[in-house]
Symmetry: C4
Subunit: 295 residues, 4 copies
């Protein structure tokens, strides 16, 4: 059991060699979004880019492609086959697999909706991928009743449930989960053989090998729509730069809270939006980079 | 009769418990917008999010859905059935009712247009809802000649007319209303059994129980298109966090003026846009939060 | 002949009474834009709003309506009949006339294109309107060879040609115009019975009554696409607040240059974009307002 | 062989005469973009404008025209014939040639995709143009196996390959290129009779006449998607203002790195996005302008 602190996280941050190029910092594929929920997709993709990934591609249902392409600049975008309701269709599976040929990391889930076809796509995808994958939000909901897939997956997984999503995954009540969060995180991380980020106060990160990290950053102003999508992107960005799933998840949770604390210092807690966490992210990264150079 | 001051409003602001999550801060549904007037809808929705609501959904005529989804990030969006002119159709009624199953507050009116079908939708909606509702702008205009609906409504209402809208609602001239604004606010709040925000210098808030609040903030730089839409969103955001309609309206008027004063200090009065009020909002909320913690 | 200075312009700025509302600050209709040139339309409309107009509506070719509605928030938008090439059609005439029923000022020209049908629309419109009108850019080009329309117009006109547009209007060469700019401005202002803003270094404003103003602000960093569109909007915004065409033009030129000087102090001259002038505008207005209150 | 330093670059920057107008600062045509990669196109176009070009037009596949017109304001846009996959079609050739009648510089390549039809268009275009041209990214990839076109081109060319693109152009491995970058840059610049910017640490600029410039600015935080597109725009913007291809390339590389260093000082290296380089550009230009005036 470790308290996640600044020094520990700083030591994990990837360096940047003078003669490196964008290929050295990895490529993230974000699969996300459905009608009315493209904001979640954009927040996750931008967070991956802001955390230092060399290239980020956001793939969304094709009817929403123009929206995300209009909103994003440094992130590339890709249209995927969709259901009639503008959420992803199982037919997107081969397209996503071919996009993964050029990506190092998959971030899957933000704003996908609970469409049954989309949920099926998520389950089938987890059975096929080999790249590290951050699974969040509706991506997690798709696995309720199918958690056997986690253990069978050929790829390292980072799961990032909030208490409601954790309840759906485990079949427990949120009260049950709240009773002993640490024990629950350890148990299910081991059972599912996945890195598990259990969001809360404090957020916990449990790894299958037995390590558990207790976060020391964050504030209740971050309790707002979109905040979790930013975390998903940060973890994916760190994975792309070569951190292990365990460290990417732990450092991601720490940095997300640190940026949220900085944002709250400026915007307060009531007025805080998820985009403010994103805006504060480069600054907290820069401060930690500076310490690395000084150290 | 109360002078709305900083200390009073500060005492009403919701706290944020360390272990709270976005579900604790409520969900706002904003129903707004028509062709050429999506800006009003966006301002109201963003103001609700900026005031601390946990989740905000903006529902607009379906032909305008892509526009608002492109503009907004933390706010979710939803397309509703529309008239040929791209304003809401009466057929939107059941869809809105089902969206209200997952929302705690309704904000209704900004930029709806004066289309007769849309006006009918507004009236029918008020007869069916039970969640607290802020009614503004074209939402109010739809009730001209139908103010009996206010008293019969099953939901707590906050009405936010400017003098012109108040004239249309009451059948009086704006000069009549200007003559004794305080008495008028008290009279119609009681008659309509609604919290009534009568905009002006100063803005007044009258509650059916007899309380009247006189605002102490605001400036004539706020006399610009979109300013009122921001107020609607602020009040809805406070309602979502559990303030009573009376306090949400009074605190909303105070905070709107306070943010407007801060914005004018930076942009001046001529150059002030409604979006500047929105930008200043987190900062004034943060200052008041800080005082709460100190107190 | 007057040197346009800070004190003179400050004395013309409209005050803001404590109990005023947005109706007191006038309504501007901007008719502008064509395929690929909506940016000019947006800059003009935003500048009118930033200068203090109570309401601003931007009317564009209907195929471009979604673009401007996505870009603008405080400005309302309106779709007009268009030619196949997405520039305005003569069929837009009655629609514009009916929009003018609710507007106090017309700004006409930015980004209209040189489509012959659009040029015909401009000429027909000038023959019908009675509200003060700022005519710029392709709006002016439409009048080349038809300058008799200026004198016959029933509305007060402000014309804002740069030397190339002035050459097209007068049939002179730009060298001819450069030879004695002051005499040229006086002559054509009188001949056309219009307020004439002759852009250059310095910009000149000549009024039919014989007054000529020589501007004292501005810098060559403002020589960039879109700069003139911002000026058009500023003049329209001042007209909406009740300044005479002569004073609106003169104050507009001064404020445009003042904001440009402020922008250049921050961005330099090479890096200056038209949008930077817009961003600096509220600040210079605020400083002049402050002096009014002190005076 | 020259070390590219501040004083040298400063001496090349164009001045701005008091009575100059936007026509004095040239017109840039950017031909770029394909489905999912409009961000690259926008970054290049905005960089050209931010570097001081008088007018900038971005021409993209017609299906993507609305996206870039929504994103850009000071940059004009133009729709071009496209392949089914929304990349440029060879049929765009005559349209681009006619747009070049009114442009002084062509920037070609960012985000064009590797579509064979688009690659053919690039090659045909290089055979016909006479205006100086910056060729980048997929524009360069189109020339792999066709480098004879460089020498035969009637227009001065600036080529800006990163090591991977250089490998594709030369048929060498990236390791071969890395072995002696200086010699490679000199050799191919001479062989292709083009100014060659070989990106790396440090970036090198070799001109056919034999001059080689070694850059002294830049940092590995700039190793992120979109960074190169900004450089393309900067060089094009300088060409438009009359710098020779050799000086435009050298000064462009210097300014790009200088802006990137400034951006990294604020955002750190991990958190740096290409757009941050763009944002820092006016400021570094302003500082160098100030030194020119002092000198």
């Amino acid at each position: 059991r470790h308290l996640l602190g600044r020094k520990m996280v700083r030591g994990w941050l990837p360096g940047r060699a003078a003669d490196s190029h964008k290929g050295n910092y990895g490529s993230v594929l974000v699969v996300a979004g459905s009608a009315g929920m493209t904001g979640a997709a954009c927040l996750a993709a931008e967070a991956a880019a802001r955390t230092g990934a060399g290239l980020v591609t956001l793939a969304v249902p094709e009817g929403l492609h123009q929206i995300v392409e209009t909103k994003l600049t440094e992130v590339m975008t890709y249209p995927l086959p969709q259901e009639k309701s503008q959420s992803l269709s199982p037919e997107a599976l081969p397209v996503i697999m071919s996009l993964l040929d050029k990506a190092d990391v998959l971030a899957l889930g933000p704003g996908l909706s609970t469409n049954p076809g989309t949920a099926r796509l998520v389950r089938e995808l987890l059975g096929k991928i080999s790249a590290p994958c951050v699974l969040d939000a509706d991506g997690l909901n798709a696995l309720a009743g199918h958690t056997d897939i986690f253990k069978k997956a050929g790829a390292p997984l980072v799961l990032t449930p909030h208490p409601g999503e954790m309840a759906r995954l485990t079949g427990l009540s949120t009260a049950d989960i709240a009773r002993d969060r640490l024990a629950g995180a350890e148990k299910y991380s081991s059972l599912w053989q996945s890195v598990l980020v259990l969001k809360g106060a404090p957020s916990l990160v449990a790894a299958p090998g037995g390590n558990v990290y207790v976060n020391s950053t964050g504030n209740p102003g971050m309790a707002a729509g979109g905040s979790g999508d930013v975390l998903t992107g940060i973890i994916a960005g760190l994975l792309a730069q070569g951190l292990s799933p365990e460290r990417a998840a732990a450092a991601g949770v720490y940095l997300h809270g640190f940026a949220g604390d900085r944002a709250a210092a400026r915007k307060g807690m009531m007025g805080l939006l998820a985009g403010d966490i994103l805006l504060a992210l480069p600054e907290v990264l820069r401060e930690m980079e500076a310490e690395v150079f000084r150290a």
